[in-house]
Symmetry: C2
Subunit: 435 residues, 2 copies
């Protein structure tokens, strides 16, 4: 018997809603000390530029950099990382990149315009960001898949220059990460991490160019820095712990479902893996699989901690009830491991990504299905979307009034402006009316 | 001679870049006292619900509410505000709403999916927000046009329920605002404002339902509250002062251009109105128009303060140089008052909205052209977009692997997962491979 103690909830019980809310509750520590440290780092990088970046990098990453030029990872280093990859791994990354690109191409938003009968033109012009920054964590959580997922959509959008920052603790870099950066077409890379990297990307230094938007995951210092520089630059989401919700009708192999839960739980102790079924005996079978399989797992300690603290097996009366709960949770990953996932999926309103059918393991989406693995967490799928090409594009409205259009629209604008007591507005329109 | 003292810059001068940056600099006061006040209000509303909302509303808006039911503005009040509008104004609002709706319909993003040869399905499912909140300022800055601009895209997106909050100082409501809310299809309205309204929308109270996203302009307390609740709910942008950049080749009536600058400057003392031209005599003519027209303006004091503090007339060598400066400024509103605005517009990369041609006064866009008047300010057009239907829609990725797809994709996923030492990920994919 393993030491997992996973919560069991029944949607029919009187206090289910309260228990569900308690299970889902997640509050990122609001640490004043971290906030102050990050504010100091940002202020230093703004005023001292490269010098501050070098100082912090030497201190936090145990480096011995003396010249700013040493901050950059030259293109040849990325290229040689790619070229020295084992063929099998290179091929897998290529397959993944190709599929991510193919899906991203479909997301691209295009400019449009139309002309009204009086000759007035209205439209929406799409432009890519001039320059984007991609933060990649160093050390143990260095994921080449994340490099592809963040970089490929930026390149598909047509971002002018894509800058990657990745810390190199003690000077060590992750060859897979550098190889993925090469494959994805990262334009420049710097061996800098932490809040100092975010500050450098937001404000620019003599060596590191300022970007328009910063994407990519990082630790609490990185996330805090991203929040603080938001407004100066765009940022992607601030991610909470990763989560999966699996709805299963009981017809999938219990071992498969247990392993799907593990694949989420192995990320870290705060990850959340929840299974819902109307089939009580299936829930029991999955629990048995969990106990059976756990001892074989390399990351058993993390899986056990995560499932015990934040995992759950939820019994419902029927699958419609499961859908209702899914819409309350608004999960990052939703697996519909059921006979007819298309029908069940129709009523799902909130989820980052929906994995449909018994053969669609969530892990396929993590690496190579094509859709992005950067997804809204902690219920934010109620109002936000996966990272995509559209995050690297922006819109400008176009208005070109014909003389007739200025006449008819001008009268309406003038009337409404006077209703708001904005008389310069009104006169600006009135000047364009025929005498 | 009026007391306007507008800056004159020459792009050919050595210190132009520095002067331009100084002109554009805008820092919202980072007031610790306001932040603490707002945090207290949010905490109170979270824990005490309606009671806190009533207390703050009575205190800040000089109301005498005793029961929570009094917070709501019943639908009949909105309807009767609409019905008692003068016909001319009702018609103008209807024209505006119809055009905003027509443009918004084109922005709507649609779901798509495709099936690969092995039967694997990939797609992107679009859903509207369940419920959105619209903040509308009370008192002097009560703009019915803003109600339309925020509410119509939400309704076009298919938002389930649209909740408006608007303060009613001393119990007074703005009839035009209520009429616009009725016209736009606002579902429920509450006479609550300030940080307490934002907190109520974010967390919900017994009376005011929690929403998924909050949009709309407000004062510094409202903006600060929106920043603090971001993450719990979505928010639109945090707007800085409004700005216009006009590029004119000298062929437009100088009075028209002066009035266009005024129409921006009359918003408030911090608004920014800048004119660029290659024609020095035209810049002088506009300056003369400014002095000539100012005394006739109802809001002369605000216009004068704004133009003196933050306005500028910029001389360039040619219009291409003007485009380069526009791309640095990334203006909220850009007027291309030139002979061939289509050609000049092609090289504009960053702008909230582009008004093309001599007949396209920016004010047309403020009220009734169709495109939204909620636009990115303070250079954020480098990375963000006008408010639109897409702000009330969100995406979910769809993945449905065929058994063959699970086989080929599973091998790639397994290999990449093992490269990242995530072995539960790998096994979850491997289970779906044929034995």
């Amino acid at each position: 018997m393993s030491d997992i103690n996973i919560s069991k909830l029944d949607a029919a019980s009187a206090d289910f809603d309260r228990k569900l809310q308690k299970l889902l509750a997640w509050n990122e520590a609001d640490d004043r000390h971290i906030q102050q440290t990050v504010l100091d780092i940002i202020a230093d990088v703004r005023t001292k530029g490269d010098k501050a970046v070098i100082d912090y990098t030497n201190r936090f990453d145990q480096r011995h950099i003396s010249a700013a030029g040493e901050l950059e990872l030259p293109g040849e280093i990325l290229k040689s990382a790619w070229e020295s990859l084992p063929a099998e791994q290179a091929q897998a990354l290529q397959i993944a990149a190709k599929r991510i690109r193919a899906y991203a191409e479909r997301q691209k938003i295009e400019s449009w315009q139309y002309t009204e009968v009086d000759g007035t033109l209205l439209g929406q012009k799409i432009t890519p960001l001039d320059r984007a920054g991609l933060y990649v964590p160093g050390g143990k959580a260095a994921y080449p898949s994340s490099v592809l997922m963040n970089a490929v959509p930026a390149k598909v959008a047509g971002v002018g220059e894509l800058i990657m920052v990745v810390p190199a603790p003690k000077g060590e870099t992750n060859q897979l990460v550098l190889a993925a950066a090469y494959l994805a077409g990262v334009d420049r890379a710097f061996a800098v991490g932490g809040a100092q990297a975010i500050a450098a990307l937001a404000y620019g230094t003599e060596t590191i160019p300022a970007v328009a938007k910063i994407v990519g995951p990082g630790n609490i210092y990185v996330a805090t820095a991203k929040k603080f520089v938001f407004g100066r630059v765009g940022i992607d989401m601030i991610a909470g712990p990763s989560e999966i919700l699996i709805i299963c009708d009981g017809g999938t192999n219990a071992d498969w479902i247990a392993m799907d839960l593990f694949s989420q739980a192995e990320h870290d102790e705060n990850a959340q893996a929840i299974l819902i079924s109307q089939d009580e005996s299936f829930l029991k079978a999955v629990e048995q699989s969990i106990h059976k399989l756990l001892p074989q797992m390399e990351r058993a300690r993390i899986i056990s901690a995560s499932l015990s603290a934040r995992g759950a097996l939820i019994k419902v009366n029927n699958l419609n009830e499961a859908v209702d709960i899914a819409n309350i949770i608004a999960p990052e990953h939703l697996e519909l491991s059921v006979e007819d996932p298309e029908i069940l999926g129709k009523n799902i309103r909130h989820a980052g990504a929906i994995f449909m059918g018994r053969y669609t393991a969530e892990v396929i989406g993590d690496y190579c299905a094509g859709p992005n693995h950067v997804l809204p967490t902690s219920g934010t799928a109620r109002f936000s979307s996966p990272l995509g090409v559209y995050d690297f594009q922006k819109r400008s409205s176009l208005i070109n009034c014909s003389q007739t259009g200025a006449e008819t629209l001008g009268k309406t604008a003038s009337l409404l402006a006077r209703g708001e007591s904005l008389t310069a507005h009104a006169r600006s329109a009135e000047y364009r009316l025929k005498a």
